[in-house]
């Protein structure tokens, strides 16, 4: 069984190219914002969640916070992929909201695959 990855980014091109690059290895779900992601999580249970940080309305950290509040027992592995994140935000998410790993954007295909497979 392929692992399922939910990828959240407000840039549609990032979502499309992510799917194009990883659809062979994983079952991909994508969301353009935190709200859409939470909607998907109502019915789906992906193995890995990868989120951008800077997004309108709900930031990546905010999404992770809500995830912890709504599904405190969820075992979903949480990764952040962002080109513009404050160290303080990342640390907060790691300490409080179960963020496992932060990756700077841009991130090469191989590195990202390694991370998805290891978390």
């Amino acid at each position: 069984m392929k692992r399922t990855v939910l990828y959240i980014d407000d840039e549609e091109a990032n979502l499309r190219t992510f799917r194009s690059a990883f659809r062979r290895e994983y079952t991909i779900m994508t969301a353009l914002n935190g709200k859409e992601a939470l909607k998907i999580l109502e019915t789906e249970n992906p193995d890995v969640l990868i989120t951008d940080q800077r997004m309108p309305e709900m930031s990546g950290v905010e999404l992770l916070k809500q995830l912890c509040e709504l599904y405190p027992f969820s075992k979903i592995s949480r990764v952040m992929l962002s080109g513009n994140a404050e160290a303080a935000d990342i640390n907060e998410a790691k300490e409080k909201y179960m963020l496992k790993c932060f990756l700077p954007k841009p991130c090469g295909h191989d590195v990202l695959k390694q991370i998805i497979d290891s978390v």
Binding site: E11, A13, N14, R16, T17, S20, A87, P104, P106, C107
Partner: protein, 401 residues
């Protein structure tokens, strides 16, 4: 205070004696010359603070001697006072035209000589102080301007870097996706090529042949793959530039720690030794009791990496890189010297400007030295260099404790 030295020039030894006897007790060091030529020789070997010059001398008179001095850029700043029995107004004008600052008539009064000498030495001293102060102001201004330029560039770079990261990310991922899709698609095509349509579908078979010729099918198959490699290379190069820009903007919140520059240098030399394909001899002369300075280890590490890498790149096939560390003014001094191609004089301090590169397109971002400059500046240090085309380049860095 250091004693001022005065050169007395007169062909008459009696005159020299008298002047000496007046000035020596006032605390001046007295030097003597008995002709214009001897005076010039003496001045060239060591500049005096003031010259008392007789007008009428055989061979080369005082006017001529003074003119020669004033035409020499190095010596023209030394004040010359004429001492002469000629009392005509034209004689005096001639003396001032030749470049004198004052004119003492013979016979002179003792106090007058001392007073005039004192006055001109004071003027000279103040002039020197003023020049020194002006030089400092101008240096500070240049530094300030540079620092401001770097700061605003830093802000701009940080903004650009963040904005470019997203598009690079999807160019990267997109290219990777297309590559995988193409590999799959090619497998399908390969199978299709094995199907013989000539008999079953002659029309389609004919049309396919025509179309393949028209679009240059074989070329497309090769070209697609290599174009994707080009796109990936373009993206990764852009990524490198953005990384450089980000470092440039110094957004890392690194902490000031104690740094042993010798250790940083040694570890970088090790890395570069492993990376280089050239025949490079490293001569390390590191001060054993090097002062431990306070700094940002990551940045300093990058500074040394940049400088040693530049030295490596300046060397064609075979060469030597010398690295010397020493303690200076309570801090440390680091020299990185190569015997490579050298930097053309025309560049001057512009080599520290961002995006100025002498390397071929794609080989350097032109950010290395401006980042280095920023790092040294950030540590309140100094960086400068000397270079000669074909001989080599030496970078000198001073970092305070």
């Amino acid at each position: 205070m250091k004693k001022d030295d005065i050169l007395l020039v007169d062909d008459n030894s009696e005159n020299l004696k008298v002047l000496s006897s007046i000035l020596k007790p006032k605390g001046y060091i007295i030097r003597l010359a008995m002709s214009g030529q001897k005076a010039i020789d003496s001045i060239k070997s060591k500049s005096p603070k003031l010259i008392l010059l007789d007008v009428q001398m055989p061979d080369m008179d005082g006017y001529e001697t003074c003119r020669i001095l004033k035409n020499d850029k190095k010596l023209s700043q030394i004040p010359v006072i004429f001492v002469s029995a000629l009392s005509g107004i034209l004689d005096k004008v001639k003396a001032f035209e030749a470049g004198a600052v004052d004119y003492i008539e013979k016979p002179f009064h003792l106090d007058e000589v001392v007073a005039r000498v004192n006055t001109h030495l004071t003027v000279k001293r103040q002039q020197e102080q003023l020049e020194e102060a002006l030089k400092k102001v101008s240096q500070t201004q240049t530094k300030l301007f540079q620092a401001e330029k770097m700061a605003s560039l830093g802000t701009l770079s940080a903004g650009i870097a963040h904005e470019i990261n997203n598009p690079i990310n999807f160019v990267n991922a997109g290219a990777a996706g297309i590559e995988l899709d193409l590999i799959d698609l090619m497998k399908v095509l390969e199978l299709y090529e094995k199907v013989d349509l000539k008999k079953s579908q002659p029309d389609i078979s004919k049309r396919m042949k025509e179309l393949k010729a028209e679009i240059d099918y074989d070329f497309i198959k090769d070209n697609l793959m290599s174009t994707i490699q080009d796109i990936k290379m373009g993206a990764s190069r852009t990524e490198e530039i953005v990384k450089g820009l980000k470092r440039f903007s110094r957004v890392d919140g690194e902490e000031m720690l104690y740094v042993d520059v010798n250790k940083e240098i040694e570890s970088n030399v090790k890395i570069i030794k492993r990376l280089t394909k050239k025949e490079i001899k490293f001569q390390l002369n590191l001060e054993k009791n090097i002062t431990i300075i306070k700094g940002l280890p990551g940045q300093l590490n990058q500074l040394f990496m940049n400088l040693i890498m530049n030295a490596e790149q300046a060397i064609d096939q075979k060469g030597t890189i010398k690295i010397i560390t020493s303690n200076k003014n309570g801090g440390v001094k680091i020299l990185v010297a190569d015997n490579g191609c050298g930097i053309s004089e025309e560049f001057g301090d512009r080599i520290f400007d961002p995006f100025l590169t002498t390397k071929d397109v794609g080989e350097g971002t032109g950010l290395g030295l401006s980042i280095s400059f920023g790092i040294v500046e950030h540590h309140n240090g100094k960086i400068n260099y000397t270079s000669k085309i074909g001989v080599g380049t030496t970078f000198q860095i001073e970092l305070p404790k």
